[in-house]
């Protein structure tokens, strides 16, 4: 797994994806946050964290789309399957290398809380919990996008389907759904959506059920990706 992880990291940083996508992610999220400061005249990290899932909706499919779709297109998946690598090692190697790119994007936004810590009163442990939630959310979105990438040989299709799936996951658990779906039903279905579980983290709270939710979500889609490779059709 380590060798595939290293090769994948080299591949990511041999192309624009490794540099441009994390940089754009950081630029967009910081810009949207700063806009609030200048327009409203105040800031809250809850607002900052609440825009991250929507930026992830584009950013994560852009990173994950190549993972398997490109291997299928170039037939290099055949090379990987002819090597002494178990399917789970291939999936984990791909996952952790893409996750590294996601984490780099998230880390690039760190100067923001650090600057605000010096300029205003920011309670850093609360922000750290928020960032922890961002990383968990990123891992779960990434595993879903990797699974979709394993189902096709078209990067564009993988990107669009992943972005669309994440869009529905976000919309169905947002305020928009609250206005369409009766509240009695919403309280039940909310539990299956990532935003519901991300919410406590944005407020600085570590919720054990939400932590388990993100881990299960990530593992489920990684497992489905392994099954997809094991089909060998």
């Amino acid at each position: 797994m380590k060798s595939l992880f290293k090769k994948e990291v080299v591949s990511y940083f041999s192309s624009l994806i490794g540099f441009a996508v994390p940089a754009l992610f950081a630029a967009f999220s910081v810009f949207l946050f700063m806009k609030d400061i200048f327009v409203i005249g105040s800031f809250s990290f809850v607002n900052f964290f609440s825009i991250i899932p929507w930026i992830f909706m584009i950013f994560i499919p852009a990173i994950a789309m190549r993972a398997f779709a490109e291997e299928r297109k170039r037939n290099t998946l055949e090379v990987l399957l002819s090597l002494p690598l178990f399917e789970r090692q291939i999936v984990l190697g791909k996952f952790f290398s893409a996750f590294l790119v996601v984490v780099i994007g998230v880390l690039l936004t760190l100067p923001l809380p650090l600057a605000l810590f010096y300029l205003a009163k920011v309670y850093l442990p609360e922000v750290a919990v928020g960032y922890f939630g961002v990383v968990l959310l990123g891992a779960s979105f990434l595993s879903l996008s990797l699974y979709i990438s394993s189902k096709t040989d078209s990067q564009i299709l993988a990107f669009l389907l992943s972005a669309l799936s994440l869009f529905f996951l976000l919309v169905l658990s947002s305020d928009f759904a609250g206005s369409v779906v009766p509240e009695s039903i919403l309280s039940y279905i909310n539990f299956i959506f990532p935003s519901f579980h991300f919410d406590p983290f944005t407020k600085g709270l570590i919720s054990l059920p939400s932590l388990l939710y993100f881990l299960s979500f990530t593992l489920l889609f990684l497992f489905l990706t392994v099954l997809e490779l094991e089909r060998r059709e």
Partner: protein, 226 residues
């Protein structure tokens, strides 16, 4: 030993491999001959465990590709059809990756063996087709495999490069099983000891290569037109 017993594989309604059986022993160089779409690539993928057979049994050095794909990958070097590679990597990076995965050392020695020592720091995308083919062969050779499964190893190369790759295959054949697929008849005459002809997914000839020059062509035509 590589052994296929009544193996079949279909894609939808198309039967790509139909009731195929053969045994290949240590030291044999087998030319796997057939027209395009005959089932050569599917058979090779079945041997490597990249595809699952619908019916039949395959044993590769005692391992079943269905269950033990990784054990087979440790013992068999594979050059897939059209030699897929990672163009963004340098030759050195790619061979190091293969060495790490196969827990083998000495990619420099293998690079020298296939004539790649001058190209180690070049990106794969900048190599000529012939050198790319050598990269694929070098990757298949990592870990000193007991068998090599080469799917059209000279496809798309100019005659001089083809000759070099053929010489390389003969040189590599010592104490190894080598199966190479091709639709170039002269290649089989130059390299193989045994000939398996496949057509429409079925084995239509399996035997020693005829000694007389030019006989392979008539044998092939007869077998395919049957």
């Amino acid at each position: 030993m590589i052994e296929l017993s009544r193996v079949s594989k279909s894609f939808g309604r198309v039967r790509a491999v139909d009731n195929v059986s053969f045994k290949i022993k240590k030291g044999e160089i087998v030319g796997f001959l057939g027209p395009n779409g005959a089932g050569k690539t599917t058979t090779m993928r079945l041997i490597m465990g990249i595809l699952k057979p619908d019916k039949g049994k395959i044993k590769v050095f005692g391992y079943d590709p269905l269950e033990d794909r990784v054990d087979i990958a440790r013992r068999v070097g594979y050059l897939p059809e059209n030699n897929p590679l990672y163009p963004e990597l340098k030759v050195k990076e790619y061979l190091k990756f293969i060495c790490e995965v196969k827990k083998a050392k000495g990619f420099e020695r293998i690079a020298k063996e296939v004539g790649l020592e001058e190209k180690l720091d070049e990106k794969i995308e900048n190599l000529s087709r012939g050198f790319k083919q050598r990269v694929g062969l070098a990757a298949a050779l990592v870990g000193n495999p007991k068998a090599l499964v080469l799917d059209e190893p000279t496809s798309g190369l100019d005659p001089i490069e083809q000759e070099k790759i053929r010489e390389l295959i003969v040189r590599l054949s010592k104490d190894r099983i080598i199966i190479f697929s091709t639709h170039i008849l002269s290649e089989v005459e130059a390299v193989a000891e045994r000939l398996i002809i496949i057509n429409g997914g079925k084995i239509v000839y399996d035997g020693q290569k005829p000694k007389r020059k030019g006989t392979v062509e008539s044998l092939f035509k007869k077998a395919v037109l049957q």
